[in-house]
Symmetry: C2
Subunit: 326 residues, 2 copies
């Protein structure tokens, strides 16, 4: 799947003042075809198989070039030499490193990333890159069982997890709007909530379809371990909102306000995290979802203003009462 066909437009990436070279192209192609973390030496061996006239120095020079061009990332597992992984459509991530079999496993945790950012900020430190490595023994080495063979790229797993988060949020949102529509008294407000519930339902269908389509790319995709760890996911917002609707006697304006809070949080959340990821389907999913939430947010705000105005006119006396109780 993610073979040479997925190679980005190298010409675009070429730093200014560099020439095309068939040898470099070959090295880059061989490199991008590999999965996992190659040492310079691994790559030399692979290259020699295709063309033994390419020297070690050229491979080193090309590797350096790829890192500068952003095609590759240099990673250090503390082995006394560097390894390289390609970064094209391969989200930045952290590593679990097995000291027994030397395999390494990738994961991403937005929760950890957020904490790392906080620490950096508290120390007045401008963070450019962070490394999180967990050393220990992997499940395969502990239990003797072999791990589910590779086959799913991190890109795919990331998309899967992004979709799962979006779907969970959508489900909470649907529940929230369904409940809101039920308790709203104003017929116009009721209709809006109904509409939003319908939209969430529709969008949920779209997302689920997309999820199914993703699963087709790898029959075992669903059972593979989590790649993106993300506790702070926005679905909790809507869940809390729905809870709030259930508890107190919430009036129409209040319901709209809660909805606005949820959508705003959700929008911010998906936008912020979407932006921070590298180009990938997962990023795409987050950003599309952010846009969706933004539209809902606008709709709710418009409605809120309208309802406020309408309530004010027929009963201007209410204003004082409301102001006093606020």
């Amino acid at each position: 799947m993610a073979t040479a066909s997925a190679i980005p437009d190298l010409d675009r990436l070429r730093p200014a003042g560099t020439k095309r070279s068939s040898k470099r192209d070959l090295i880059v192609n061989v490199f991008l075809r590999q999965e996992g973390h190659l040492s310079a030496d691994d790559l030399v061996a692979l290259i020699k198989r295709e063309d033994h006239r390419i020297s070690r120095a050229t491979v080193y020079r090309t590797l350096q070039w790829m890192v500068e061009a952003g095609i590759a990332r240099k990673v250090d597992f503390g082995e006394g030499r560097f390894r390289f992984e390609h970064s094209y459509r391969h989200p930045r991530h952290f590593h679990l490193i097995c000291k027994t079999c030397n395999r390494s496993y990738e994961f991403l945790s937005s929760d950890i990333e957020a904490l790392v950012e906080e620490v950096a900020a508290a120390r007045g430190f401008q963070a450019r890159q962070s490394v999180v490595q967990i050393y220990g023994t992997c499940e395969a080495c502990r239990t003797g069982r072999e791990p589910a063979e590779e086959g799913a790229t991190s890109e795919l797993l990331f998309a899967r997890d992004a979709l799962r988060i979006a779907i969970a949020t959508e489900r909470s949102g649907l529940e929230f709007y369904t409940r809101a529509a039920r308790i709203t008294k104003d017929p116009r407000g009721k209709r809006i909530f109904h509409e939003l519930a319908e939209e969430e339902k529709h969008h949920l269908g779209t997302l689920e379809g997309r999820y199914r389509k993703l699963l087709e790319q790898d029959p075992q995709l669903e059972s593979r371990p989590t790649f993106l760890f993300f506790k702070g996911a926005a679905n909790g917002l809507f869940a809390a909102g729905a809870d709030q609707l259930r508890r107190d006697g919430v009036d129409d304006l209040e319901a709209l306000r809660i909805g606005i809070r949820c959508e705003r949080g959700s929008h911010r959340f998906f936008k912020r995290y979407g932006e921070r990821f590298e180009d990938s389907e997962g990023k795409q999913i987050f950003l599309e979802f952010a846009e969706e939430e933004r539209q809902h947010l606008e709709m709710l705000i418009r409605e809120y203003r309208l309802l406020q105005k309408r309530q004010r006119k027929p009963a201007p006396a209410r204003r004082r009462a409301a102001a006093r109780s606020a």
Copy 2:
């Protein structure tokens, strides 16, 4: 402060089947006198100053020995060579690494550690050690101002932060018990809460005294940046408990139950984290505090059982009502 006088009993640490050697002793002593992260070469230079007949190979061999013996930790800042830091009374920690001046700053985040543990568990990975490194530009390099010179060891900062957390928890606890004593009807329960409030007040005094004493060791200790990042600190528990007392009409049994929940959470929290830190004053503070909370917990549980029994006797009919409403 943390000079050769602080050196642990090296004889205890000597692996079986090794001999004492004056050269090794010298190397270890010089190493332990240093602050910060030394490269092998730095140490060779330092050693040569004291005795130029000690060879580079011996320094390397001793460094390896120290790592095995647990006196030193080998750290990799991706420079293509390793650095070493001593681990004696120096808590495990993470690093902020400035790419401009190559200085490195230490911090510890129990929040990050907890997330790392979760990820490892979710992947069936047995974590032995984890590395968190934030690369970027430090405040000094960005602003041009020099950083507050070193002088406080991580050990000291850790103790400071552990005390701050304990004090904050104690304050919340005090507020909780004061409020609980006020709203409790049963005179015996009232007295217990009063007693606990008094104890918290007293303990708070002790902790604050200890904190002041700690500050004496370094006049600028208070203004130094946070070392231990710890959002999940237990003081939130008591704060939430106090909130709960404020809101609903809480009866005596319920107040005791809330107290039990707070103390249990607090106890677990300090015990769990205290255990996970290396030997240090910070660890000490956490464990002592855990023990304190355990005693309060027992007291509350005893009282809860008594009150339950007493309430049952005069009005046995209540049991059914309580059971039905549960």
